[in-house]
């Protein structure tokens, strides 16, 4: 097995897809600079810089996908999607329905997301549940290099629109770009296993909608995506060491489709569900998982550790409001106690 960084895995998988399929094109602001290697290999016709016109080029991706391309359109930060959401809410997600199933929109929207490096509340949002609220949109949030590459190919193979979110604490290029800036004077709490890890020699698309269990444990089920999964694993180890309770940890990997079955099976056993989510708490993933469990008629204790408000700029306060290990351990302890 090879080892690659999170960013490297995506680039590697994407380069393969582009070499295999002429229809795959990349465009977005600054992509020649951001994706220099792809730009050098595939040329400007297929790795195209776009003006700062998210509405036009995201909307153009919809048209391009309808007319035969497989665009990978880059929106630098998920926070910028609200500028151009009509292309996703009113076009991409609905064309299949409006055409009676005749016409599909196979496009991938690639965006970085998440916080933990002091970039303020307008540049650190997660928004995956917000996107997943809209029927017809898939939303993928990988947590390791292997999943990042595999899910990118899964997204490219998917016939509908997929938003592919890369957490900035995992994607070394983004973190250096927006956080580090080449300094040795700053440090970030990067989950090592998420930022770099083994990837298959030959990429296979990972199908969307399949959660993966990363830790076994019968006392409690912790569910999340992205960086939260790594925090949950750390918290689970601490919980085991400190109080002897064993938590299972499930990485959903995609928010939509949502692997309800995996969650229900685990909670049916543990009777305790803790959702760890970097997206906003209200009307989001944590609520949907509660509904999933209740709908399945599973009685369970429940708690959630989420982002509850606009994220503060100050890194000290930021660290407190993100779903950190301390908050997870505390919530988990309350759930298992009694």
């Amino acid at each position: 097995m090879r080892e690659l960084s999170f960013t490297g895995a995506i680039e590697d998988a994407l380069a393969h897809a582009m070499a295999d399929d002429e229809r795959v094109v990349v465009f977005g602001e600054d992509v020649p600079g951001l994706r220099m290697n792809l730009y050098a290999r595939f040329g400007e016709a297929r790795v195209r810089p776009a003006p700062i016109s998210e509405s036009a080029f995201l909307g153009a991706a919809v048209g391009a996908a309808m007319a035969g391309l497989r665009p990978v359109v880059e929106i630098m930060l998920v926070d910028f999607l609200p500028v151009a959401m009509s292309a996703l809410v009113n076009e991409a997600s609905k064309i299949a329905a409006f055409s009676g199933g005749e016409w599909q929109v196979p496009m991938v929207v690639r965006a970085s997301c998440g916080g933990g490096y002091g970039d303020g509340g307008q540049h650190e949002q997660a928004l995956w549940a917000w996107l997943a609220h809209i029927p017809g949109l898939s939303v993928v949030v990988p947590s390791t290099p292997a999943d990042a590459g595999g899910l990118l190919l899964g997204a490219l193979a998917h016939e509908g629109p997929v938003v592919f979110l890369e957490h900035k604490l995992l994607a070394e290029d983004w973190l250096d770009y927006m956080g580090g800036g080449g300094r040795t004077t700053v440090a970030f709490d990067v989950p090592a296993a998420g930022a770099r890890g083994p990837v298959p020699e030959t990429w296979q698309p990972t199908p969307l909608g399949r959660a993966i269990g990363l830790r076994e444990g019968g006392d409690l089920t912790i569910v999340g995506v992205g960086v939260a999964v790594h925090r949950a694993l750390e918290a689970a180890d601490r919980l085991a060491a400190e109080s002897g309770f064993e938590a299972s940890v499930i990485d959903l990997r995609s928010v939509q489709p949502l692997d309800r079955q995996a969650v229900c099976e685990a909670v049916r056993g543990s009777r305790r569900l803790l959702v760890v989510d970097e997206d906003y708490r209200d009307f989001g993933l944590s609520g949907e998982l509660a509904a999933t469990v209740m709908e399945a008629g599973i009685g369970a204790r429940y708690a959630r550790v989420c982002v509850e408000d606009t994220i503060p700029f100050d890194r000290r306060r930021e660290a407190q409001v993100l779903p950190n290990t301390d908050r997870i351990v505390a919530a988990a302890s309350r759930l298992v106690e009694r």
């Binding site: 909307g59 153009a60 991706a61 048209g63 309808m66 005749e102």
Partner: protein, 341 residues
């Protein structure tokens, strides 16, 4: 080059007759709300769409029946979609604001301005996959103030996309005179994006055809985007059941409920000064007057008058169109009954 004027006439007449039939169905309660017609803009659509062929694409706005009809999309499937029948273009799921045909790379959207980005995307795919094929975007002058459309002008310019933007200027956006909310002159605005803009009388299908011919040819040859600004009218109002047109057509009934509250409001204490109130009332009157003034300059009648063809052949063509439309409506209605049966 000159167009095949008879072909243009057939296209325009088919669209007109079909939309008239759709109006009947709407009045009978068989088609639900927001039925926007393209009656009045057939000259523009015909003059442009006549140049399109296999692989060329169309992004249309909320008045999408004419482009679909003229591009050769199945008439019964269009009517069936308006009826919400599962025999419709979108199996009755999309509706009249979302007429689309994959085979023709033709789609429409009810979001004002959305045809700009969509056409850019179609054009991008053509640039990569089908060199010399183009895309056309249809939209109204009101849409020209929508950011995504202005962005599309720039995108098309800097990517040299083979796209022709077609602005159908009927002067109105629902009840708002577009001039009152538009700064500057629209063709000038487009030229400011480095895109050649041509103004043309949209009631003159042949003139549109000529202007479109040049712009489309340039786009096919890799010369980048073009823009046509074509004037037109909106005789059937914003959509079927347009409240202003109802006032124009049945002033007594329609005004009865409105005048009382309006005069009460206009004379209530607290509020603007007399001059401003008078200006508002003037504005409202103008609004209604404009709705009434949208007749005339009929592109279909005008084109017919110009045809140099003997009466017999013309009538034969018109009868053919009539029957095709009647057959389409019958087929669509029948499909509806099958389902409910």
């Amino acid at each position: 080059m000159t167009p095949d004027n008879l072909k243009l006439y057939r296209a325009m007449l088919t669209s007109r007759r079909l939309e008239e039939a759709i109006s009947e169905l709407w009045r009978d309660g068989l088609i639900s709300g927001e039925m926007h017609l393209g009656i009045g803009e057939e000259g523009i659509v015909a003059g442009v769409v006549d140049h399109l062929d296999e692989g060329d694409a169309i992004a249309a706005d909320h008045r999408s029946t004419p482009p679909m009809v003229m591009r050769g999309v199945d008439l019964p499937a269009i009517v069936a979609e308006c009826l919400g029948s599962s025999a419709g273009l979108g199996r009755g799921l999309g509706g009249h604001m979302h007429l689309m045909s994959r085979r023709h790379i033709a789609a429409s959207s009810g979001i004002v301005g959305a045809s700009g980005p969509l056409a850019c995307g179609f054009a991008l795919a053509n640039q990569q996959l089908r060199p010399d094929r183009v895309a056309v975007a249809f939209f109204g002058e009101g849409a020209m103030n929508q950011g995504m459309l202005m962005e599309s002008l720039n995108l098309a310019g800097c990517w040299r996309l083979p796209v022709v933007f077609v602005c159908k200027d009927n002067g109105m956006a629902i009840t708002t005179p577009s001039q009152s909310v538009t700064s500057g002159d629209l063709p000038e605005r487009v030229r400011g994006f480095g895109i050649p803009a041509v103004e043309v009388d949209g009631a003159d299908a042949e003139a549109v055809w000529q202007a479109a011919s040049e712009a489309i040819l340039r786009a096919r040859r890799g010369g980048g985007p073009g823009y046509l600004h074509a004037s037109c009218v909106r005789p059937e109002g914003h959509f079927l059941g347009d409240p202003l047109l109802r006032i124009v057509r049945r002033p007594v009934t329609e005004l009865r409920a409105k005048v009382g509250p309006l005069t009460r409001a206009a004379s209530s204490p607290q509020g603007a000064g007399v001059a401003q109130r008078a200006a508002s009332l003037g504005g409202i009157t103008t609004m209604v007057a404009r709705a009434a003034g949208m007749r005339g300059r009929d592109p279909v009648r005008r084109h017919r008058a110009r045809l140099e063809i003997d009466r017999g052949r013309l009538e034969a063509l018109e009868n053919e169109v009539e029957s095709a439309v009647r057959a389409a409506v019958e087929e669509a209605l029948a499909s509806l009954e099958e389902v409910s049966a």
